[in-house]
């Protein structure tokens, strides 16, 4: 178990100080696939480098299995890293690269050879063991980097955007394979990415970061369905944000009939309401929903679904997604005005952003 306690990192001092990480608190459980997600500059890589020991925190604690590891140099931390650039040693063969960590720790030669063989088989690279690492393709280098980091049996494996250099098809393959390896070994993975799809498909839990702070830590489904704030709602998936007013268990979207929503009891006054495009019902008045109408401005075909850009009578705009399966009978044309339903259970109230400004 890795406990990150009010961890902060500031580069520089005085006016030039840059707060890369502002008092981050989170606990990563054993065997978890934990993802740090955020745009570039959000602090996710800094957090990873602090865990690896490449940077020293300016405040807070890093507690691994009850021991504060913040002062331990990277060469003695039981964590290994898969680097974004792979950082394979170009003058060594695949097997020598994988053996490096074991040899540096003084493992007997016979055990090194056995473990190298085992790990190379795990990543299906044993047939290339004597190839120089510079002579490998991107996907192969990726596998060797993974094998090299796994060989010394780390307590936690850190992965710094390891798939970003691969093309889309290979990336999808490696995503599945990483997930499989992680599950089979029961090893804790801390995975850094800026790709929300990657985060959603692979992770047990995702920590969304922005401006050096954790915005929300949750399972992919919860993160998508119940974003904690506007940033998370906008960063994960597509979303519609509408102005509204809350009070007495009622939510009133501008110009529309009130919706009875439990969450509305907690908030009062002006709020932001979120609804995902796929929850907007186009072309019919569904039960338990706020009803309105919209003019179809644009239809964008995406294969499995179509994005429908709509303008609302009050002046706002809304995006809906309609499935293109055989039994979904709606035929829309641009310029047409259609009835719309916003189901009560799809409406989410986001807290006032001013209180969370970075």
């Amino acid at each position: 178990m890795l406990e990150i306690k009010s961890l902060s990192k500031t580069f520089g001092a005085g006016v030039a100080a840059y707060h890369a990480l502002r008092s981050v608190d989170v606990t990563v459980e054993d065997g978890e696939f934990f993802t740090l997600l955020g745009p570039s500059g959000c602090g996710k890589t800094t957090l990873l480098r602090l865990i690896a020991g490449f940077e020293q925190p300016t405040g807070g604690q890093l507690v691994l299995d009850g021991q504060d590891i913040a002062a331990i140099p990277p060469s003695r931390r039981p964590v290994n890293t898969v680097f974004q650039s792979y950082a394979l040693f170009p003058h060594m063969t695949v097997a020598q690269n994988v053996a490096f960590g074991l040899e540096a720790r003084g493992t007997p030669a016979r055990d090194v050879a056995a473990r190298v063989e085992e790990v190379l088989q795990l990543v299906q690279m044993d047939h290339l063991r004597d190839r120089k690492s510079a002579a490998l393709s991107g996907g192969q280098q990726q596998r060797v980097a993974l094998a090299r980091a796994l060989a010394p049996r780390p307590r936690i494996l850190l992965l710094d955007e390891p798939l970003s250099a691969l093309d889309l098809k290979l990336r999808k393959e490696m995503q599945a394979e990483l997930k499989r390896l992680q599950r089979e070994m029961g090893l804790t993975f801390i995975f850094v990415t800026h790709d929300q799809d990657e985060a959603l498909t692979m992770s047990d839990r995702i920590a969304v970061m922005e401006g050096g702070r954790l915005q929300q830590v949750a399972a992919p489904r919860d993160l998508y369905d119940h974003p904690a704030n506007r940033f998370v709602a906008g960063f994960i998936g597509e979303t519609n944000l509408l102005p509204g007013e809350a009070g007495n268990g009622q939510l009133r979207l501008a110009g529309l009939a009130p919706a009875p929503i439990a969450e509305a009891g907690a908030e009062s006054g002006a709020v932001t309401v979120m609804i995902r495009p796929e929850h907007v019902v186009v072309g019919q008045e569904a039960a338990n929903a706020v009803h309105t109408s919209g003019r179809v401005d644009e239809l964008i075909f995406f294969g499995t679904d179509t994005h429908v850009k709509l303008s609302l009578p009050g002046g706002g705009s809304l995006t809906a997604r309609t499935q293109n399966s055989l039994h979904s009978g709606t035929h829309l044309t641009e310029g047409q005005t259609v009835p719309l339903s916003l189901p009560y259970e799809a409406l989410r109230i986001l807290p006032d952003e001013a209180a969370h400004a970075v």
Binding site: G53, P74, S85, P90, F100, G101
Partner: protein, 267 residues
């Protein structure tokens, strides 16, 4: 509008100038080498191909001593200057940014800035004092003197190699339980090796060719190949000198070409 690249080849007269320059640069050397293989003793009168001047040089003990001295001095001077250059290059490209890095560069490149004759006189004055005080007159003075001006030549390829090296590799080594020394031995040094070898070879050639510093620093009776050639020229212009010059040229070109081939290889 499409950008048109300026090419010096399209300037009128560029080709003739290039040809004249090449002739001026290489004709004397070609003539010298040709004469080294001339059977007759007179320049300009070709009497057939022969290796007799090389053979007679080989039997000349003064030449052999000078050649041996040159090799010893060049080897050791290249070794010491390369060692110092590696340390300097590591200090500059690794770790924290040093204060006054510009000053360090000036000091390192001092031999390129200071006129060689000034350096030679300075070394002579200082080393003469030491010779007098210790009574030792061996080759060590020459080795020390050569080491000083060889440093910048050894330094350049090493620094270039270090700056082109991915720092993440060293970070990765430390992440994989390697301490500082282990990282240096298993990662930094092997990757740096071609730069070190190239630096060593350049320093070796620079030392091998040196005349000015050698003539001022050498003890009486001590000769390196270049100082020996200078002395011989003053006495008699024999074809043996051409043969020795050709050998020296061959040695220099071989080493420089080897060092160029090594640095050209990708890290």
């Amino acid at each position: 509008m499409a950008e048109r690249k300026f090419s010096v080849r399209h300037v009128p007269g560029a080709a003739p100038i290039a040809i004249v320059t090449f002739i001026a640069l290489y004709a004397p050397i070609v003539i010298l080498i040709a004469n080294a293989f001339n059977a007759g003793p007179v320049i300009g009168r070709w009497e057939g191909f022969s290796l007799r001047w090389f053979a007679s040089a080989m039997q000349n003990e003064a030449f052999r001593n000078a050649a041996l001295n040159s090799l010893i001095v060049a080897m050791l001077a290249a070794l010491f200057s390369t060692l110092l250059a590696v340390m300097a290059a590591l200090a500059i490209t690794r770790g924290r940014r040093l204060k006054g890095e510009g000053g360090i560069f000036v000091v390192l490149n001092q031999p390129l800035l200071v006129p060689e004759i000034v350096l030679a006189i300075a070394l002579m004055i200082v080393l003469a004092q030491i010779k007098q005080a210790t009574g030792y007159h061996g080759l060590a003075y020459m080795i020390v003197a050569h080491s000083t001006f060889c440093i910048p030549f050894a330094f350049m390829p090493i620094r270039a190699r270090l700056e082109g090296m991915d720092l993440t590799l060293e970070t990765a080594a430390m992440d994989l339980y390697a301490g500082r020394f282990y990282t240096f031995r298993r990662v930094t040094l092997p990757l740096l090796a071609p730069g070190i070898l190239a630096g060593f070879m350049l320093a070796f050639v620079v030392s091998l060719d040196n005349v000015v510093v050698s003539s001022f620093v050498k003890s009486p009776g001590q000769e390196t190949l270049p100082t020996y050639l200078m002395g011989e020229l003053r006495r008699n212009l024999s074809s043996e000198i051409y043969a020795i010059s050709a050998l020296l040229l061959f040695a220099s070109v071989t080493v420089v070409a080897a060092s160029w081939l090594i640095t050209r290889r990708k890290p």
